[in-house]
């Protein structure tokens, strides 16, 4: 048990220092911009929704102008979708090679604050994920599309989205984890 706890803790410590990670993300963005287009993730959630819905209920999918516009020919064989498919593949390989693959359900700081019940964490993860993609689609992008790609292009919408995002995320985190009075 104790061994497991230390393994979880170890898996949190980054292998790459911040500057190497930041530099590498920047280089990925530049390669993408030079060859194809800026990076983005959240649109592909809609694309997958559209393709899944189209295979189950073609009419419902055809009736949504938004799904139709995102899904193009209802195919997943696009550069954009494969970029997003690559993310878990790369992360899996990186976690496996560095021995940091871990099936923990409840993060330790969540367990300290809200208890170790897995169901509670999973339900809130679902709710949070719902808000995350609803907001991303409404705003037209997420952390990669707006904050990294958009701000780099000096897009006004991306500055506005990022500022609102951080303000609300910091307030929410403070509400979830109140600061203790004594320091």
């Amino acid at each position: 048990m104790r061994q497991q706890v230390t393994d979880h803790k170890k898996a949190i410590i980054p292998i790459l220092p911040w500057w190497a990670g930041g530099l590498a993300v920047g280089v990925v963005l530049l390669v993408a911009v030079a060859l194809i287009q800026p990076i983005g993730v959240s649109t592909q959630y809609v694309v997958l929704d559209g393709v899944l819905l189209h295979s189950l209920f073609p009419e419902a999918a055809e009736n949504s102008p938004y799904l139709k516009a995102a899904g193009k020919e209802w195919t997943l064989a696009t550069y954009e979708f494969l970029f997003v498919v690559g993310i878990p593949i790369g992360a899996f390989l990186a976690a496996t090679v560095t021995n940091r693959f871990s099936m923990r359900v409840v993060p330790s700081i969540w367990a300290e604050r809200f208890g170790p019940a897995p169901v509670k964490r999973l339900i809130w993860s679902f709710v949070g994920g719902f808000l995350l993609l609803f907001g991303a689609r409404f705003g037209g992008g997420c952390t990669s599309g707006h904050m990294i790609s958009g701000v780099s292009q000096l897009a006004v919408s991306s500055f506005a989205f990022s500022a609102a995002l951080f303000a609300s995320a910091i307030l929410t985190a403070r509400w979830l984890y109140p600061e203790r009075e004594e320091r």
């Binding site: 990670g21 990925v28 506005a160």
Partner: protein, 175 residues
Amino acid sequence: MTLLLGLVLGAVFGAILQLSGASSYTKIIGTLRLRDFTIMKLIITAIGVGLIGVHALDAVGVAHMKVKDLYVPGIVVAGLIFGVGFAVTGYCPGTALAAAAEGKPDAWMTIVGGLCGALTFAFLWPDLESSLASLGGFGPVTIHESLGINGLVIALPLGVLCLWGAVKLPEGRAT
């Protein structure tokens, strides 16, 4: 060929997110509680490199730009909603995929919730488009174009400022 490039570039991106701790709930919550600034330093570095690099590529005419539309109340509301989801899950749409691949079941639930949220949005879109998203629409505006100057004039100093800030920002404060 383009498809393969997408897969490889995505895999490199995913590996970086994993190795640098960006897919960790603990690191993200530490960032949002303003206790652990390593992910903040990472993001600012990436933006600094991006600002200078993207506009340098644009100056030599090889950048494929794609600027998102500005619609003032809508984009702020969207950011606020996203921020709540970000703090509750500890993941963003990209890092959730990385965390899920590391074996985290809560990241799987985040993705399932995200697919539902995106689908709900898709069906609400016709109504939202005619209301909130059509208010204060300015199209794909950028700072430099609205000022009528070359992007590098702003991107270079701002990028240097980001890189300088990333170095100067402390790694964190004691908990």
